[in-house]
Symmetry: C2
DNA sequence: CATCTCAACTCGTCATAACAAGCTGAGACC
DNA sequence: GGTCTCAGCTTGTTATGACGAGTTGAGATG
């Protein structure tokens, strides 16, 4: 009954699925530390009563949190808040500031250059434009707590790039700009990581010695429909940055 | 009808959940190429009729395939087989040889050392043993097509390590040994990647200059129950190796 | 012919209900 | 005290039913 009531009383959220509201509420309590690692969540029926939802709906919410790695579930026993943090959820596609900002660090970007350039073969291939077409190139230096961490080269299709160029590139992630200002929902990204030596320019930008090891990330981000949107090279200082994530073996458990 | 028939005729699989049977059946048709990319799957109700399952069960099966990236779904339209392959599923936990071997390369491991050592604080913490406990340390040089690519340091709990030590460490991945010879089903792994400079020993092993950039991968692999099993440091030559994978944005779409 | 409308189909969400399977702790039994 | 059993919890799986929202193509309309 009150699911309807809830929707009636908050018509502006009427279209947010109930299971999302639940998972969001639970997520907040976990991230805020109300429920430290190891805490047992209320049982599915209890949650159902609390949120006035059926068990099937609660399970949808819990399933989402499980996928995020925030909780784990043991049959017959209950659902529990996962181990520490620090390591959480990094196999999501997130901007650097999105990730760090949520951990209490100050992130700034210094715009090094913003230009229309001719796409070389590789950039053209990745972005799906003709070789020789004009694209937008953005070069930024990222500072974490005033300390330089990375230099980032970004290429975008011309029209999209011009929109992005008008946004607050110094304070916000390109991902956030793309999604909120340009209305481009992001989907998957392909990454390639390797290690390279700092050339003279990178070394001076990042305040390290020439030849110092850098973690290079090549990232091609697609929108929801699979169209390439954003092609980047990120150069991280090897001594101050780690790329962390989790992977599963055998996600399907097929055969 | 047929789901029941299936279970009746194969009583040993009677406890495999129906939704897994369905996702497995669909997965096979996709991987076998019966349904090329872009093919629309039968609707959820059709599948329900085919497998004699309710729609909720079919949706569970379809949800699993979606997570695997094999299919994508558009409301009002249907579920479709995903784009090519090539990049699929690389965010799985795979051994190096597993990955390369399936691409027609020759992978060999040269055993550099195999010893019982005293766990330092970090190794002890990661493997969940007492500091000062004895663990097995394995150091290997990996060769791809006769060329050195990486040096790998592995620590295992003593009893497990002794089992592994008896296996064919030169020809097989430790992952494969753990799963097949030791019967340890692997689950998740946590990875941390950064870039470091080659010290004298690594440089000579890998046949690069001292100070050359290396991609360092710290990996802690857990078994199915979440117990830490295998703790490793992998040092890859920056010039010959890339770590590639895909990530999704917004598995939760929070806030 | 172009466009517009709408019925019919698709997936998205949610409720209620039931039984199976795993876990846990209180109490019985030795 | 130590062990064993089992009731009563938990999650896992599944069915049926319902309505909403997005898509699409056929037919009506201009």
């Amino acid at each position: 009954m009150s699911s309807t009531e809830l929707q009636t009383s908050r018509p502006e959220f009427a279209d947010v699925p109930l299971y999302r509201q639940i998972s969001k509420a639970l997520r907040l309590r976990i991230l805020d530390g109300d429920w430290p690692a190891g805490t047992r969540l209320p049982s599915e029926s209890e949650l159902g009563a609390q949120f006035d939802a059926s068990r099937i709906t609660v399970r949808q919410a819990i399933g989402a949190l499980q996928q995020e790695g925030l909780i784990y579930t043991r049959q017959g026993s209950g659902s529990f808040v996962s181990r520490p943090k620090a390591f959480q959820n990094v196999s999501r596609l997130q901007g650097f500031a999105e990730q760090m900002g949520s951990h209490g660090h100050e992130v700034r970007n210094r715009l090094l250059s913003l230009a229309e350039v001719v796409a070389d073969a590789r950039v053209a291939a990745r972005l799906g434009v003709a070789e020789g077409a004009t694209v937008i190139e953005i070069r930024r230096l990222r500072l974490l707590d005033r300390e330089p961490v990375s230099v980032e080269l970004t290429w975008l299709q011309r029209d999209l790039g011009l929109q992005v160029a008008r946004a607050d590139l110094e304070g916000r992630d390109i991902f956030v700009i793309l999604e909120n200002d340009c209305g481009v929902p992001l989907g998957q990204a392909e990454l390639a990581l390797d290690a390279v030596a700092a050339d003279t320019e990178l070394a001076s930008r990042l305040n390290v010695a020439r030849g110092a090891p850098l973690l290079r990330v090549e990232r091609l981000t697609h929108d929801h429909a699979g169209r390439p949107v954003d092609y980047e090279f990120l150069y991280f200082r090897g001594d101050t940055f780690q790329y962390r994530f989790k992977v599963d073996r055998d996600p399907s458990s097929a055969e």
